[in-house]
C-alpha cells in the first residue's frame, strides 16, 4: 500500500504521510492535555497510559506469540508489591526492580508453556494468578496485612508526564521489537510451532523470552498502578483485572501496537462514561467482545487499517 523508494525509508519508524499524521495526532493530543484538559481528564490520561503499557505486554505474549495466559493479575501484583517494597531506592531503580521481578516470575511461569498448549496453558497460568493472590492475602509481611501497603504518590501532573513518556518509550520499543528477529520469531511460533522450529527458531528461548518480556511490561504496569493509587490491597489483583486486559487486547486488536493503546483507552474511558450504572460496564465489555470477534476480528486497529487504506486510495476503491 505504501510505496517505499529507498532502504532508508523502509527502515524508517513511520512510513508514509498518512502514517506520520496518524502518529502525530495522538502525540499532539497527549502534549496538549495538561494545558487544556481538566484534572479529571488528566487522571484518565494517566490511567490510559499506565494500562496501555500492560496491554502492550500482554499483546506481545498473546497477540504476537500466541500463548494464552491468564496469569496477568499475578504479574501485576508482583510488580506493584515489588515496587512498594523497593521504594527506598531511587525511582527508576525501583521501577526497574518491579519490572525485573515480574519478568523473573514470568520466565518461571513460562516453563510449563514448553509442554502445555492452548487451554492447558490458560488453566496453568490461571492457577498461578490465583496462587499469587492467595499468597498476598495470607502472608501479611508481604502485603502489609489488613491495612495494606501505602505508596508515595507524586503530584498528578508529574505522574501524567512520566507515564505518557514511558508509554511512548514502551510503544516505540515494542514496534521495533516486533519487526526484529525476536518479534518475527514470536509470530512464527504463534502461527506454527513445528514450522518455526524447523526454520531454526529456538522454541524454548522464544517462548520464555515472550513470557519474560510480557511480564516485564506487566510488572512496570503494576508499579505505575501502585504509584497512581497510592495504596495496595490484594483484592485489587483479582480475576477481573485479567478480564479487563483481555477486553482491551480484543477490542483494540490482537498483535498490534496502536491497537493496544486504543484498547487501553477503551477499557478506561467506557467505565468513566457509564459511571452511574456500574452493571452496564461488563455488559458493554461483553457485547464489544462478541461484536469484535464476530464482525471485525481485527478490532479497532483493523478498523483503523481499513480506514487508512480507504483514505489513501480515495477516490479509487
Amino acid at each position: 500500500m505504501d510505496r517505499v523508494e529507498s532502504y532508508r525509508e523502509e527502515l524508517g519508524f513511520a512510513r508514509g504521510r498518512v502514517n506520520r499524521a496518524l502518529l502525530a495526532a495522538p502525540l499532539a493530543l497527549a502534549l496538549a492535555l495538561p494545558f487544556v484538559g481538566s484534572p479529571a481528564s488528566l487522571v484518565r490520561g494517566t490511567l490510559i497510559a499506565i494500562t496501555a503499557i500492560g496491554v502492550l505486554g500482554q499483546n506481545l505474549l498473546i497477540g504476537y506469540c500466541g500463548q494464552i495466559s491468564f496469569g496477568q493479575a499475578g504479574f501485576l501484583a508482583i510488580g506493584a508489591y515489588a515496587f512498594a517494597h523497593l521504594q527506598f531506592l531511587p525511582w527508576p531503580l525501583a521501577l526497574l526492580g518491579a519490572g525485573l521481578s515480574a519478568a523473573l516470575a514470568g520466565a518461571v511461569v513460562g516453563f510449563p508453556s514448553l509442554r502445555l498448549k492452548g487451554p492447558y496453558l490458560a488453566i496453568a497460568t490461571l492457577g498461578f494468578g490465583i496462587a499469587v493472590y492467595q499468597l498476598l492475602a495470607n502472608v501479611s509481611w508481604l502485603s502489609g496485612g489488613r491495612t495494606g501497603l501505602s505508596v508515595a504518590r507524586p503530584p498528578l501532573l508529574s505522574l501524567y508526564c512520566t507515564d505518557v513518556l514511558l508509554l511512548a518509550l514502551f510503544a516505540a520499543a515494542t514496534s521495533n521489537l516486533v519487526s526484529s528477529y525476536a518479534g518475527r520469531a514470536f509470530m512464527a511460533v504463534r502461527d506454527s510451532e513445528i514450522a518455526a522450529e524447523s526454520m531454526g527458531v529456538n522454541l524454548t528461548r522464544t517462548k520464555l523470552l515472550a513470557f519474560a518480556l510480557s511480564s516485564f511490561y506487566t510488572g512496570v504496569h503494576g508499579a505505575l498502578f501502585a504509584q497512581f493509587l497510592g495504596h495496595l490491597e490484594p483484592e485489587l489483583f483479582n480475576l477481573g483485572e485479567v478480564l479487563t486486559q483481555f477486553v482491551a487486547i480484543t477490542v483494540g486488536g490482537l498483535a498490534s501496537v496502536e491497537g493496544s493503546i486504543l484498547g487501553a483507552a477503551f477499557v478506561v474511558l467506557l467505565p468513566a462514561l457509564f459511571g452511574g450504572a456500574r452493571w452496564a460496564v461488563p455488559v458493554l465489555f461483553g457485547v464489544a467482545i462478541l461484536a469484535v470477534l464476530v464482525f471485525q476480528p481485527g478490532g479497532l486497529a483493523g478498523l483503523l487499517r481499513k480506514a487508512r487504506l480507504y483514505l489513501e486510495q480515495w477516490p479509487f476503491r
Binding site: I62, G66, I68, P112, R115, L116, K117, G118, P119, Y120, A122, I123, A124, L126, G127, F128, I130, A131, Q134, N138, I194, L239, L243, F246, V247, T250, L254, A277, R278, W279, A280, V281, P282, V283, L284, F285, G286, V287, A288, I289, L290, L293, V294, P297
Partner: protein, 293 residues
C-alpha cells in the same frame, strides 16, 4: 476413623457438585474444543432464575426445572448467536475462549442489574443444619440431596450419551466433525445440544450450591475454578475422568481442610492443577497428547 469418614463424606458431597461442573466443562471441550469460561455464569443465570421464581411464591417443583431449562437455553442461544458464526469465520482458539469471556461479562452485568450485587439467601426445601445419621456419621439433608441430585445428573448424562441415538451422534461429532458432517448429521444442532446439556448440569450444581453460599452475581466463580481443577485432574477430554476428578478433589480438599488446616483447603485446588499440569498434563483418565504433522 469416624472423623475421617465424616470429612470424607462431606467432601464427597461437595465433590459431586464439582463433578457436575467439570462434566459440563469436559462436554463442551470435547464437542466444540472450547474452554468455557462462562460456565460459572451460565449456572449463576439459572440459579437466579430459580431464585426469582421461588421468591415470587412459585413452588420448587416448578422453579428448578425452569431454571435448568433457562440456563440450557442461554447456552444454546450463545452457541448459535456467537460461537457458531465466529467459528464459521475461522476464529482462533484464543478468539473462542475470549468469546466465552464476553458471555461471562454480559451475564455478570445483567444479573447485577436485575438482582443487585447484595448477597441474597436462597430459599431451599432441604435444610443445611438438620442431620440424618448414615452409618457411623451424620450428613445434613442438603448433603444427601446434593449427592442424590449429582447422581441423577451424571446418570442422565451417561444414559443420554451412551444409550441413545442422540448420544451416538454426539460422540460421532466429537470424534470427527468432518466425518460426522459427511454422514449427514446436523452437527450444529448436536453441538448446541451439548452446550445446553452442559449448562443444565452447571445450573443443577448452582442450585445445590446456592443454599450453602450466599447468592450474588459472582457466587459461582469459586465452584467454577474447582470444577476446572477437577476437569484437569480427570483429563479435559474424558467424561468419566471429570466425575472421578470432581469426587477426588472434593474428598481430598475436605480431608486437607480437616487435617492440614483451613488455609490449605482454599489453595488446594490450585496446587492440584499445577501438580497435574506439570506431572501429567493429560490428567488421570486422558489419553496422552500426540501431534500429527
Amino acid at each position: 476413623m469416624d472423623r475421617f469418614l465424616q470429612y470424607a463424606a462431606t467432601g464427597l458431597s461437595a465433590g459431586s457438585l464439582y463433578a457436575l461442573v467439570a462434566l459440563g466443562l469436559v462436554l463442551i471441550y470435547k464437542s466444540t474444543r472450547v474452554l468455557n469460561f462462562a460456565h460459572g455464569e451460565l449456572a449463576t443465570l439459572g440459579t437466579f432464575a430459580a431464585f426469582a421464581l421461588v421468591s415470587r411464591g412459585h413452588s420448587f417443583l416448578l422453579a428448578f426445572p425452569l431454571a435448568v431449562l433457562s440456563g440450557a437455553a442461554a447456552a444454546v442461544l450463545f452457541y448459535f448467536g456467537a460461537l457458531a458464526p465466529a467459528q464459521r469465520r475461522g476464529a482462533t482458539l484464543l478468539g473462542q475462549v475470549i468469546l466465552t469471556i464476553g458471555l461471562a461479562l454480559i451475564v455478570q452485568g445483567l444479573v447485577a442489574f436485575v438482582f443487585g450485587t447484595e448477597p441474597e439467601r436462597m430459599p431451599f426445601p432441604l435444610s443445611d443444619s438438620d442431620s440424618r445419621p448414615v452409618g457411623p456419621i451424620y450428613l445434613s439433608e442438603l448433603s444427601l440431596g446434593t449427592l442424590a441430585a449429582s447422581l441423577v445428573g451424571c446418570g442422565a448424562l451417561y444414559l443420554v450419551v451412551q444409550r441413545t441415538r442422540l448420544g451416538l451422534a454426539m460422540r460421532a461429532v466429537s470424534e470427527n466433525l468432518l466425518a460426522a458432517q459427511t454422514l449427514g448429521l446436523p452437527t450444529r444442532r448436536i453441538l448446541a445440544l451439548a452446550w445446553g446439556a452442559a449448562a443444565a448440569l452447571a445450573v443443577l450444581a448452582g442450585l445445590f450450591l446456592a443454599p450453602a453460599l450466599l447468592l450474588d452475581p459472582y457466587f459461582m466463580l469459586d465452584p467454577f475454578l474447582k470444577g476446572l481443577a477437577a476437569a484437569v485432574l480427570g483429563g479435559l477430554g474424558s467424561l468419566p475422568g471429570a466425575v472421578a476428578g470432581g469426587l477426588l478433589l472434593g474428598t481430598a480438599e475436605s480431608l486437607a481442610g480437616a487435617y492440614l488446616g483451613i488455609a490449605f483447603k482454599k489453595t488446594f485446588a490450585f496446587l492440584v492443577i499445577l501438580a497435574v499440569l506439570l506431572l501429567r498434563p493429560e490428567g488421570l483418565f486422558g489419553r496422552p497428547f500426540k501431534e500429527r504433522i
